[in-house]
Each structure stands twice: as C-alpha cells, then as structure tokens.
Point group: C2
Chain length 284, copies 2
C-alpha cells in the first residue's frame, strides 16, 4: 500500500527511515520568529504538533516522553522543591513536574511563546497546570537563563529541547551543562532528552562526554519507547551534582498521590537497564 498526501511524513535521513501519520486535516500552520509550527488532526494519534518538519508530540503517546523525562529525576532527588524546565513549550513536562506535591516552584524557559500558546489551544490537557501558582512561564533564552541563575538555586533542571541542530545546539554542550551544575544544589540533577539509542549513539556519547567534562559526579542514560520519534526508541540522560544517579525513592513512587501511565517503580528501574551495546558504547 502506498502512502499519499493523506499522510504527514517525517523523514529521518540519518536513520534511512521515515514515519508517517494518517491525517484527517491540518488544523493550523504558522511561521514564528524562530520556526514553523504546524498542527494536524490525525486518524489514530489525536492531535500532532510539527516544528520545522519534525514531529514534536501527539496526544496519544506524549505520556511516555513526558513521564520519563520528569519522574525518574524527581524521584531520584531526595527532596525536589525547585524545578527548572528549559524548552518544554508544550507544557507536558511542566504538568508532570507539578504533580509532585513537594515542588514549590517550577520555572519554564521556552524560547518561542507561540509553542505554548498553540499548545494551550490544541493540547489543552498538557496545559492544565499552567495556572498553578507554583508555575512561572518565561519566554526567552534558556542558555542565558541558566547562566544568570543563582548558584544552587535549583534541585532539578529538565532540558526538554528539540534536536541538537539549530537553536537547541548549545543545550547539548559542555558550557551549558557547567552552568547547569552551578545552578544546581548538592544532589541536584540535570536531565537532557538524548535522542535514539539506535540512530544517535554519536550524540549520546557527546552528551556523556560533555556532562562528565562539566564536572558532574555521575551520568546515566535511561531509555523508553517513543513511537513517534525516529526509531520509536528514545532516551534521556541524567547527570548529578556530587552524588550517584543510582537509587531512588522507591517507596515514594509506590505511594505517590498521582497517576502515571508508563512510569512506576518497576519501569523506573527497567528504564535504566542498559542494553549491552549501549553500555559498551557509553562505557557505563
């Protein structure tokens, strides 16, 4: 069966592959000062957001990414109260962070306000916590924000960025991770979305190298299914200030007061289980 113009397709050149969604209609399209954003209604994935031709998220499976980018770090830190999200304009990560009752403040620094405004319109369930009094939405440069942050002013920094090309490139480099380390308290954790274990091992290695050079005590990668991203398999890499990333508040996970769909104490541990080829490539 051939695919025609009733599909939206993202070609992944480095993967030699493409992923397509059957589309009902295009809901919106605009050019912002930073990028082009399109929203589609799909047959089976609910709404779909595309930035510069790259799939950002869908209604159906964003829970995998948002849960695994936030809860492992938040349940590894012993008492996370102050969170920072760099990027994350769709607000799905922010929603997960604010599920933690111990969080006192969550700052989000997204460069393109239109991503957030369109999410409020087309992904309202992801934005349900935007009016939480603990949340502050800033629109500006995340790299500068972290550079200017007071030392030790955050417990967890989540880098929920696009791929390391274009504006997000600096978010994958040692100077940024060093500024994050300075902004983190003792035991503080930075989390970076770190691409596909199958397609992007070079990027993953680069993240590990940059984080280690920046001076973190420990760097570890977790992985999880993410059907709409290239290869359907994605990762996040955690680096911790002065402490190991191993171990987490397992009892707190078992007794957590909020619902998750993928994340639980078993999948937390499972996500850190390194396939042999990844352990060999990353030297972990």
């Amino acid at each position: 069966m051939a695919i025609d113009d009733t599909y939206f397709t993202e070609v992944c050149k480095e993967g030699g592959s493409a992923f397509s969604f059957k589309i009902k209609r295009k809901l919106h399209e605009e050019q912002t000062p930073y990028q082009s954003i399109a929203i589609y209604e799909t047959e089976a994935f609910g709404n779909l957001m595309v930035i510069d031709g790259y799939v950002m998220l869908t209604d159906r499976d964003n829970f995998l990414y948002h849960e695994m980018l936030s809860h492992p770090a938040l349940f590894t830190h012993r008492d996370p109260r102050r969170a920072l999200i760099i990027g994350g304009g769709d607000c799905g990560t922010l929603r997960e962070v604010l599920k933690h009752p111990g969080i006192e403040s969550a700052h989000q620094v997204e460069i393109d306000e239109r991503v957030t405004r369109l999410s409020e319109q087309f992904f309202p369930e992801l934005c349900m916590s935007n009016d939480d009094p603990r949340a502050t939405l800033h629109f500006g440069d995340g790299i500068q924000w972290v550079k200017d942050a007071a030392p030790g002013s955050y417990d967890v920094i989540i880098v929920d960025s696009t791929d390391p090309i274009g504006p997000a490139e600096g978010l994958f480099r040692e100077p940024f991770y060093r500024d994050c380390l300075n902004a983190l308290g003792t035991g503080g954790i930075v989390v970076q979305q770190s691409e596909s274990p199958l397609y992007h091992m070079g990027i993953l290695k680069g993240i590990h190298k940059a984080m280690r050079s920046a001076g973190y005590a420990d760097v570890r990668t977790l992985h999880f299914p993410q059907p709409v991203y290239p290869s359907g398999w994605w990762s996040a890499t955690l680096a911790r200030n002065e402490e190991s990333v191993s171990g987490f508040r397992e009892d707190a996970v078992k007794e957590k007061s909020f619902a998750t769909r993928y994340y639980n104490h078993a999948t937390h541990q499972g996500a850190f289980a390194m396939p042999t080829f990844m352990a060999e490539a990353l030297g972990t």
Copy 2:
C-alpha cells in the same frame, strides 16, 4: 520532505501510521505456495525481508527481537535442553537458542521452506547455526507438530510467528496453547511474540486469556524496542507449566559464555517491568 519510490513503506492501518525504509534496490521477489516474499537492500538497515507487504526483519535491528524472544525464557527455565521453534524461518531465533550450551536439541517447524532458503542466501549470519548437529529443520504445519508431540517432550516452545491473521491465526488460540502445555515438561515455558503494547492491546489481552484458559500456572508479558515493527515497540508473552514466570537464573546470565547485544541480566528484569497502563489492561 516527501517520500517517493526509493522507499519501501509498510502501512499499519490499525495504528494510523506507516514506517518506511530508504531502499537501494530490490534483491529478490517471489510468490511461494504460502505467501509473497521480497528482499530489499536498504540504505541504513542492511537487508530487509518483507512477507505479504509486512516487514519481517532487517540486518540492523533483528537482534532486539531474536534475543528477547529466546533468552528470557531460556534463562527462566532451570535447565532447558529441548527447544521447539514454531515459525522462525529466518533462523535468527534458532541461532540464539543454540548459543545455550545446555541445549541438546532444537526443532524448528516453519511452514514455508522458502523463507529459510532465502534467509540462508540474504541473511547468512542468522543461519550460521543451521548446520549445528543439535538443530533439526522441519518444514510443515506447526500446529499439527505440537498436537502430535509426545507429552512433556519440550522444555521451551518459542512461537516466532507472523501476525495473527492468515496462516498464523491458529497460533494465537487456546487449543494451540493447550497442545503446547501438553508438550511441555514441568516448568516448561511457551513464548509467543505478542505484538505492540501501544497498537495491539486487544491481541495481547486475547493471548493472556487464551493462555490462562489453556491451564498455564503463570502468564507474563515482556516488552522491548523493535524499530521496524509498527509503533517501534514490541512484546513477547511467556506462559509456564505449573510454575511462576518470575525469577530467572541471574548468575547464569552474568556468566554466560556467549555474546548478546541487547539482552543481559538488567534488561531481562527491565523487560518485565510493566508500564502502568499495560498492567491495568492485562490485569497483571
């Protein structure tokens, strides 16, 4: 970027999605008495085998599927010596099974001999153990084979089949699983490839129900990335005769004499970590 006729595409109707490979050339195509088989050389996945338009395997990522279909069951059984593979014509599962030095016999029953002959030609590395004196390749009806098997004659039965439509449909039903149970010794395990956790929960539920009705003591599903199958996320379901599927020979995994690329003691445990939505759907 649009995709053109330099791509091979599999549309997954029930998933509202499609996955495509950039193709260098078509290496072979034939109609057998059972199905149509095509082999392509891809840009980034090595060789690709397609049956009736559905992606079967590629050089690049088949290790994920073959390792996770075989080693978790073989390291859960306390002393597997007699293995049966139903389907598995590409011989990748057979190769993994024969890596276990304790295996004394491995019978494979594939309905279409051409799948195996073409694999020997186009996927020689998967067929490197076909001449192992412990291996016997039969070409015929797997359902009948299991029906005729002597009671208690196998330790592990691996159902490495196509999707539950067409000829493989009977492999997903209670009568087949009951025949498997009869053919298994005490503590024996049947493994069934069980489709995508995201797209095919109805099939997964049906497998669990059929296996439980057939009289197994325990039924558990594991999951793993499989980029070239719909959603990029796949599962296998294990059912055990008289014993629990939990627990495995962890020390034996750590000391195993052969190499694997995804499977190890950590990913064994991690693969069984049930995402919350799956546990709820499957009642496990």
